[in-house]
Symmetry: C2
Subunit: 147 residues, 2 copies
Amino acid sequence: MRDVQDVFAGFLEKRGLSLTRQRREILGVFLDAKRHLTVEGVYNIAKKKVVRAGYTTVFRTMKLLREAGIAKEVNLGGKIVKYERRYGHEHHDHLVCLECGSFVEALDPEIEKLQNKLCNKFDFTPRRHRMEIFGTCRRCRRRKHKP
Amino acid sequence: MRDVQDVFAGFLEKRGLSLTRQRREILGVFLDAKRHLTVEGVYNIAKKKVVRAGYTTVFRTMKLLREAGIAKEVNLGGKIVKYERRYGHEHHDHLVCLECGSFVEALDPEIEKLQNKLCNKFDFTPRRHRMEIFGTCRRCRRRKHKP
DNA sequence: CTTTTTTTGAATTTGAATTTCAATTTCAAT
DNA sequence: ATTGAAATTGAAATTCAAATTCAAAAAAAG
Ligand SMILES: [Mn+2]
Ligand SMILES: [Mn+2]
Ligand SMILES: [Zn+2]
Ligand SMILES: [Zn+2]
């Protein structure tokens, strides 16, 4: 995606930072990956690239991507931080399988509406939210019932 | 609350563990505290008590309380784990203020219903969920507009 | 080219969570 | 009361991802 690179370049410029080769490649790795990635995960892919990047640089770049609105921290259960795309990937919630760790991304406009209504009731101004449902996915349920 | 003590005693018995003075006092500290507490927070209160308890014992007891269904881990933003009462404190979601860190506990039965509906759509069996809305509380909004 | 500033990444530090293990306590059997 | 096995405790050690440090390398400015 061309314009994500542009967004990052713009962000860096505004901050007086430069778009180095490492930063460009780390963004590339992150965008190419489909699933949610840990810093370590990004690092493992990045170190095989033409321009290798150290763990620290990946760590710092993920932070920049977060600040630029390109990446988003997610925390599906465990304590390790994962990142997912944010730019060009609308807000959504997660249904996380407790058996296999897989997850589905879902969005229910009705729920989102009611969330705002709930905030009104408490005179609360919402900025962002997080909703995760933990349970058993279809495949795991089947695996249990007819093995 | 008498019956929480009983629940804990029952749980410990089932596990072949005994209700020691430390465990009883740690539970007492936890129940007396209104707000969500970290292990460190429980420890700080506990160490002033008649029967002092070490950090490790508090840590392990909080784990037992969790397994007994008396305590529940919550994670409102930051990375440190907090515990809140679970027994006699029905499921609820949180509206967390990003300015002052305060929060409101709320429950919307409509949302809960739609969550189940959403799960049906994905053939997903829900077990538990977590929903947190981050934003600005009434007081903080006022503080900003007319200081 | 020379100087200044930024960036990088190996190494170190941090901090909460968790484990280890020797000392202590509990408790049932002599 | 005495013994001893089993459970409990808690100070200390360990773990491990997150965050920081700092000297070398690279880039930008002059
Ligand atoms: Mn996602
Ligand atoms: Mn709560
Ligand atoms: Zn599954
Ligand atoms: Zn507030």
